[in-house]
Symmetry: D2
Subunit: 112 residues, 4 copies
């Protein structure tokens, strides 16, 4: 059970959350990485709003949309990797294979 | 500034822009539609940042990422449709088939 | 209008086909290129059948599936490019903008 | 050769294969399902070759390509599900978490 060594994301069970207390616990480094990426994505979305308002040529806007899609995909991959390396492994080792059902649903959504 | 027929997006040539003056001109209705969608997407991205900060269970975050991807994809489809129904048609009718080269590059990026 | 110079794909109108006589006309070189790719894809699909029969490790089969997806995607891009450079341009120049409706439906299917 | 419990796919370790003896073992039902789908896909690919030879209108060919992509995607999802419900669970329970590295690489290829 990770105590101070939280370099990797980890899934917690316990607590009084309405979701049964399940939580992810990303390392500070991972959190900072994700926040930087999400801040940039938020800025890109605001940028697209500005482009629409200024009637920027659609092809340029479409290229910006494709860039955001790609940046979001990278965040998704980081999260998926963290999830699989922590929660999925932990829960399977605890015999809780329902984590696989849940994961398959999520992967199908991400693969669309 | 187009006056009467602004129902459809339209691509302008002319002006002193650094991009050769090429502009898109979406109808007010289309602009409002795109802005509403982009505001919602911006809110969703901010929501994901909050989820990361609160250590929300990764699978839930991943589902939210998939929802944003899908919302962005819809904005991309709207823009692509507007672009093809206006600029692409106009420029091809003016014999400027380079618009197709540009469009193929963009579609390839969106299809990744 | 192209007569002997059929280096590029071209869309024909006329004839007594049940589809209104619409046809594509790929250059011999393009046809050969597409056939080579499709023959390879057909072989890859047969290969996957053999892998399933011999109980090949799923991860290896999945990698082969991903390779076929990618090869099919390349055929799709070649066809889309040929289509846009010939039929789409020709039909728009003839004022038949319905080709865009049709193209948007197809691109949406390919982008899924 | 597994005897009774063959309902689910299973990953075998042992044997003298060059891949370290790792094998998948799909149930007869799963194998029949996959083979039916792959036979259909093989037929569809042959169909596209016929379409190219007969100069079928590109848009129709592109729709057929999209249909094959979708059918292949379904095979991929079935295999991924079988893989995760058997090999991935088994190997994680045996403490062999390298299966996750391998799976992440494969999912990334399938998500492209």
């Amino acid at each position: 059970m990770p105590t101070d060594n939280e370099q990797e994301a980890a899934c917690h069970s316990g607590g009084d959350e309405h979701d049964g207390g399940r939580k992810s616990h990303h390392s500070d480094q991972m959190k900072a990485n994700l926040m930087t990426r999400l801040n940039r994505i938020e800025g890109q979305v605001r940028g697209v709003k500005g482009m629409i308002e200024k009637d920027t040529y659609c092809d340029d806007v479409l290229n910006q949309i494709a860039a955001i899609q790609s940046a979001l995909g990278s965040v998704g991959k980081l999260l998926l990797e963290g999830h699989m390396r922590s929660c999925v492994i932990e829960r399977i080792q605890e015999g809780e294979s329902a984590v696989i059902d849940e994961l398959l649903v999520t992967i199908n959504k991400l693969m669309k």
